[in-house]
Symmetry: C2
Subunit: 577 residues, 2 copies
């Protein structure tokens, strides 16, 4: 490619709304242009990156035996009604009426359509296992789209769906996809981690996320630096930090804590560590029949409640909410901020203690009286044992790993997700096949997503500096840029650049010759922003000495290389980028 025949249009400033570095840099480099909130045009260089990612994903999916097809973007509501997701999915599902007032959706994923295909196409165990995938435009109507391609509304996703005879076979399909994903993210040149994850609205019983490690990621990953263990903080087991119940040493005491509705203030007022305090969260669930049920959750003052874990508590399956002030008052006769588990009327509320809280002694909690807390509180002595002990909190860095060692936390960007679905969709849509005994059996499914467009943003979040992007070679918009200085004036420069350009093209290198004849400062700034892995500078002075300058975007220093060795050097250097 010659820059004069391409469309390069870099910007000095990122738009004010670009909050994250990938959004800023992709916009400045002219890789994406916003058309509406969360909806972008991939400009030529942006599309090149997208296509390179797609090609790697496709190759590895095919290698793993998955078969590509293409399901439609616009899907009929009937299938979504059959699965139940028409009702379950919130406003993120973009719904349409066609000219005949029939309901359709713009697909956010394709479980329904693929299950419909499977029930029509798969008749016999002889056709199994099979894994279909497509790479297609998706839409999720995010309430607040932002962060450019990180949380867009229209995006490109690869989604695969495996069909198997039974759970064992389905597990093998899952493992094959897990292995394929490891190969894909390795080939993409990204630092990543496969982490155990919650299954969320897709459903199913087991899942792993593939997270690109980046400080700007929205997800928190709990991992053990000394083992293979890694899990999304949503799912990561938080251990009890006290091997056994702490003995009661103090007497129960009511302490004045004026204007101290938060544990942090209480700890300061009482001169105690935050880890001696216990905070109270009052939740409510609404059964199908009868009155709301109230729950008191107790978590150590320095810990955070994990909403995903709470949602999995027995009785919380249909959702939960914060209790209203009236509901709280009916049990505690006290406003929030000073609530505690001591002296509650029997059976009025179910008390659930976090694992650590259940082993605490001499702790501090609200006195159920505004402006007062209790200290020296002890289970059994001052209040009944909790009704339930459960893991209610997020892991924090430094927590012991029950399997040995210590847990650490890092941030990541979810770019892939594999789910063991079981029969959730196949049962709803009655997707069966005939087993060897001639009897129908329900297909076992897995589903496997990769956020193709998101990967391009995640790669930048992980690989950039203050001058611009630093692409891994595999998905760089160009592998090599040739920067001739004064190409319009010097025949020697033009000839050297053209000759190297053709030689690199002949070797299959994705090279661009910047023949715009702009000032070196502008040209270098453009290519540091765009982040081509290798830049070759050809100038009159160097060429007289038989030298070209080769600068890897990742390196601090350029290398002076003999012109005759440049091709070989570039080919070798690219191998490590």
């Amino acid at each position: 490619m010659r820059a004069s025949q391409y469309h390069l249009n870099t910007l000095k400033e990122a738009p004010a709304e670009a909050e994250v570095v990938s959004h800023q840099l992709m916009t400045r480099a002219g890789m994406i242009r916003k058309i509406a909130g969360g909806v972008y045009t991939y400009m030529p260089m942006g599309l090149k990156v997208l296509r390179k990612i797609e090609a790697i994903v496709r190759e590895e999916m095919n290698r793993a035996g998955a078969i590509e097809l293409l399901m439609p973007v616009i899907q009929p509501a009937e299938l979504w009604q059959e699965s139940g997701r028409w009702e379950q999915y919130g406003p993120e599902l973009l719904r349409i009426k066609d000219r005949h007032q029939r309901d359709f959706v713009v697909q956010p994923t394709s479980e329904e359509v693929i299950t419909d295909i499977a029930r029509n196409e798969i008749h016999s165990w002889r056709q199994l296992p099979v894994n279909f995938y497509h790479i297609q435009t998706k839409f999720r109507d995010e309430r607040r789209p932002r962060f450019g391609l990180m949380r867009g509304r229209e995006f490109t996703m690869k989604d695969a769906y495996s069909f198997d005879r039974d759970e064992t076979a389905a597990q093998a399909s899952y493992d094959a996809m897990y292995a394929a994903y490891q190969r894909i993210f390795t080939r993409l040149g990204l630092t990543f981690r496969a982490v155990a994850a919650d299954t969320g609205s897709i459903g199913g019983s087991r899942s792993h996320e593939f997270q690109v490690i980046a400080d700007t990621g929205e997800d928190l990953i709990v991992y053990n630096p000394d083992s293979e263990y890694a899990a999304n903080i949503e799912l990561a087991d938080a251990p009890c930090l006290l091997a056994e119940r702490e003995p009661a040493r103090e007497a129960l005491e009511k302490r004045a804590t004026p204007d101290a509705p938060k544990c942090e203030i209480v700890a300061e007022q009482l001169g105690l560590p935050l880890s001696r305090t216990v905070k109270a969260v009052v939740l409510a669930t609404d059964p199908a029949e009868g009155p709301a049920r109230l729950w008191l959750l107790l978590i150590r003052g320095d810990h955070e409640t994990n909403e995903i874990k709470v949602g999995k508590l027995p009785g919380f399956g249909d959702g939960y909410r914060l209790a209203t002030e009236a509901e709280i008052d009916s049990v505690f006769h006290c406003a929030p901020g000073y609530l505690g588990p001591v002296g509650l009327p029997p059976k009025a509320i179910t008390v659930i203690a976090d694992r650590t809280v259940a082993h605490m002694g001499d702790f501090v909690c609200g006195a159920n009286e505004a402006g007062y807390h209790l200290s020296g509180v002890n289970w059994g002595r001052d209040l009944p044992e909790p009704d339930l002990v459960a893991d209610l909190r997020n892991v924090v860095a430094g927590d012991p790993d029950p399997r040995g060692g210590t847990l650490a936390i890092q941030r990541g960007i979810e770019v892939g997700h594999v789910f063991f679905l079981g029969d959730k969709y196949s049962r709803a849509l009655n997707a069966t096949f005939l087993e060897t005994d001639g009897k129908p059996a329900v297909l076992q499914m897995g589903c496997y997503g990769i956020g193709v467009s998101r990967i391009s943003a995640a790669a930048i979040e992980q690989n950039h500096d203050d001058r611009g992007m630093i692409w891994p070679r595999a998905i760089a918009p160009f592998e090599v840029v040739l920067c001739p200085i004064g190409i319009g004036k010097s025949d020697a420069v033009r000839e050297a650049a053209e000759s190297l350009y053709l030689a690199l093209q002949a070797q299959g290198v994705d090279v661009i010759l910047d023949d715009r004849d702009t000032r070196p400062g502008i040209m270098f700034a453009d290519w540091e922003l765009i982040g081509a892995p290798l830049r070759v500078t050809l100038g009159d002075r160097g060429l007289k000495e038989g030298i070209v300058e080769i600068q890897a975007r990742r390196d601090d220093q350029a290398q002076r290389i003999a012109q005759a060795d440049a091709l070989a050097y570039i080919l070798e250097r690219l191998e490590s980028l």
Copy 2:
């Protein structure tokens, strides 16, 4: 590809709703599966064809200097309001409200978005010319989707948009695309014709359609077998068939024609050729102010009215309609069926005669009295000369070509369309650039579409027989199929098949080995349906003689080829398929 690891699922019967052969065969071969009316999943083999078409289109677009990008499927209404198409486009435009009740459309084409990009990206004449294209999912909410991929609602289209400094440069861009389209359809292996065409709702001043020739096509192409001339019948000039006005030989006579509201019946009753009759069509236009205006169109009885030509008559720019019975009665005092141009009150209606009608003498027309026609009617003598003479009719086969020779008609399927747009969109969206003199000028545009998914259906309409599809090699789902007979029982067959399979793969041939071990009859029927250009049969008996059978799908007879020569034979034979 090995069939055992692929998804082959052919059907004996096509669905009842499949009216055209491409829909029937693609469904039977398992290339597409219907998800909703006009919405299909491309099954693996269907997608392979689509991707091969896309690849050829992409290569030739790139070769022509066009630059690929990717515009979104879901587009904001604001841009469509700026161009005016939000109001102009009918119910075929699928409109959506997002969760915030903002209006969006599912793109049927992308003139608005690309013009928005151009006005933001193109600042200077130095950036011109430029031609952007994308290959993307489109949606047109057809009232009655049918014919499978021929008239689907969701489909894949390549659309390109050129931007130029002035009309001369824009014409050069148009010509470059025209040439690229010639290369594309030649490489696809299709018999096609570029025809002058109407610009329709896209607008602009000049356009050509690329039509795949097929008896089942919906379009009629007027062409001259002895010249380059070809035009869609919508646009093709219909000549006057009479060099000069015929002399009046008969007297005007009122003839009883009971129950003869059609020219065909009149001609029969009067014992005259249909070509002596003239039919009357009464139309109305509604000006912005004032009463409706009435028009009487006169067309020879054996000719058909051309609605596109009528729509271009002076005064018809804002549309027209059939006159109401009341309007007709106000002028003719007679019901439709017996209307004619003789004896009309002056200025009550504007009379427009087709070119041929204007030269007719002694013609027959309605007498404006139920049950009666006039014969021996002559312009000037019996009625005033027509207010306007115009081309109102469709060409018929055998019409003389004014440029010499005779016109013929064939049917075609429109698969590509190039438009010279001028400044229609760039002016509406104020897309300007700075000229050399520093003053802003409006961009000149062209747009260029190719119906990627439709091509797969058109290829079948053109190339099939009663056993199935006959793919051109360039876009066949597989180039070669190997059919081993009894692969499960014979080591010799298995080894010969495997060896040829690997040899063909090594040569880059897209080959499938049908290792399903099915009965030969089933296997052959499948592959005649699917239409792979070459089928190689390997059986024990032949192999003992050192022979394999190679059958080109287009040929009647299979060839017996020495096993040792099979590879070379296949490679050579493929060149001509």
